[in-house]
Symmetry: C2
Subunit: 316 residues, 2 copies
């Protein structure tokens, strides 16, 4: 038997056919049609049928279709409340897809939750009962596993780890508050502080490598310059580590997870990030017996695999 | 059938005999003997037997003995790792009590967790599946109810909500970090800021009422002066509300509880606290559909009732 996992993003929709060993045995991608829900559902249904046909899998062999989206979903799991990148607000997308595949259960979840589920079934959380994932990219996406299941909030309204406060009153966050974890720990936050430092230090490698052009300072450049020994970039990166370690310690103090995994582009820094971060987190945790950090491992497949596991999670 | 609930504090040990309607039908209190675990266990066992005899209840009618303590407990629930107010460090207190009552199951938990359990069975959380309690006193004690049960951390190592960061790098906390929720939201934090403001404003009511004596400025005086219209005290209280509302919003964004209850001495402020706080919390939550605050209701009985409910929680 097979599952279809769908990862809808603002640029592309990724579709994977997942077998019982959780391997993606066939995959495809279509551009996200900037269009109404019904149009997107039509295109997606067509692409799913094409992938099944190409793989020689019948709808009878399909156990579920799982979909993850970058946005908030109502507690029933049927309606996308807000997905800004998709232009979807109040779109009952799950019923649209269910109508197109009447014999197949269709599940829908937030993509950060889905990524945590992928780590649970195939990645860094295998065997864990309690685990937390931080995905550090444009924002800070967070997913919580509790008691071996996806935790979507006590009222099933979603978790928003990125919008827990870290420095109340600090940097402006996209949510309108000031000082959220996301404002400090996202790749965007690192790049913002890199730009400020670059402008203040025209002698720095950060300034030379970016040609003094703010738009060329991103998280990767800050990390590369810090690795290369640039003092300006190193100071920015160290401050980032300080904030990120505090965010991690908060999670350990609140939830006491077996493990906290960190994914997203910033993790490309590897040991340069993880080694000092682990030390800082252990120091900051209330109990020194907690604080195990690991890199997330599912990478670009997190969405598709997580989506494909939604049925299994729901049946737990 | 009956349960014995025991609330051990650094000054007194409170003991209650709790019936099936969760009423405390008999109670007693003994001074906490500043002594080794075995001595405390002897005195406590004696007091429990005296209370049972006085109430005419036999050990056969006793279903459990539950004990809550102000400290950290190892994941097995047997050993008090650290309870500074009791002078207990690495004391296997649960087996000591179990040895003295071989026919009765003995449970032990942290007192903040116990208080949340009391709210669940008899107080502000009745009927809830997910709820969080903040107890604002000397520190910020936090208890989490998840899926209708006490949540003691994913690894059962305890939750330390008070030591989640609120203003990373800010005020010093007793735990050694800077900027924990406890450092801002405890009654101690409010009193600290009241003292600073009093010294800076000798013309204030706060200064007059305390006679300029720092040691006389406590949370209650700040609240009383703020209620009476003292601008200095009002500014301190408003800043406190700002921080507390951010801490509450963090909890709603992470856990999405049905309700967050606030207990402890600060709650004596009543509507003067809750009305502006509710507005601030609703404004700060990522989803405006969440954020329901209520006062905790169990008061001084929270420990005894929570301890008495430990058996029921364990059997869930």
């Amino acid at each position: 038997m097979y599952q279809i996992g769908v990862d809808i993003g603002g640029t592309n929709i990724k579709i994977g056919l997942v077998d019982e060993q959780l391997e993606i045995v066939a995959r495809s991608s279509i551009p996200f049609p900037q269009a109404a829900g019904e149009v997107v559902a039509d295109k997606l249904a067509e692409a799913i049928r094409a992938l099944l046909a190409e793989a020689g899998v019948t709808e009878q062999q399909l156990e579920s279709i799982g979909i993850v989206i970058p946005g908030s979903i109502d507690p029933s799991g049927k309606t996308i409340i807000d997905a800004y990148n998709l232009g979807f607000h109040g779109v009952s997308f799950q019923p649209m897809m269910a109508g197109r595949f009447p014999k197949t259960p269709v599940y829908m979840a937030n993509d950060a939750n889905g990524a945590a589920l992928a780590e649970l079934y195939k990645g860094a959380f295998v065997g864990c009962k309690t685990a937390v994932l931080f995905t550090l990219g444009t924002g800070l996406g967070g997913g919580i596993i509790l008691n071996g299941r996806m935790f979507n909030g006590g009222l099933n309204q979603g978790v928003e780890l990125g919008h827990a406060y870290l420095v109340d009153g600090g940097e402006a966050c996209t949510c309108g508050n000031h000082g959220c974890m996301e404002a400090y720990c996202s790749a965007t936050g690192l790049a913002r502080d890199g730009r400020t430092a670059m402008l203040a230090h025209p002698e720095s490698m950060l300034a030379k490598m970016s040609g003094g052009d703010e738009t060329r300072v991103d998280a990767r450049l800050v990390i590369d310059c810090a690795k290369a020994g640039d003092e300006t970039a190193k100071a920015v990166f160290d401050a980032y580590l300080g904030r990120l370690s505090s965010a991690c310690a908060s999670i350990f103090n609140i939830l006491d997870p077996e493990v906290l995994a960190i994914g997203g582009g910033v993790c490309g820094a590897g040991d340069f990030l993880f080694e000092p971060l682990q030390q800082l987190v252990t120091d900051k945790c209330f109990y020194k017996t907690r604080g195990k950090l690991v890199p997330a491992v599912m990478g670009n497949d997190a969405g598709v695999i997580g989506a494909a596991m939604l049925r299994r999670d729901a049946e737990q």
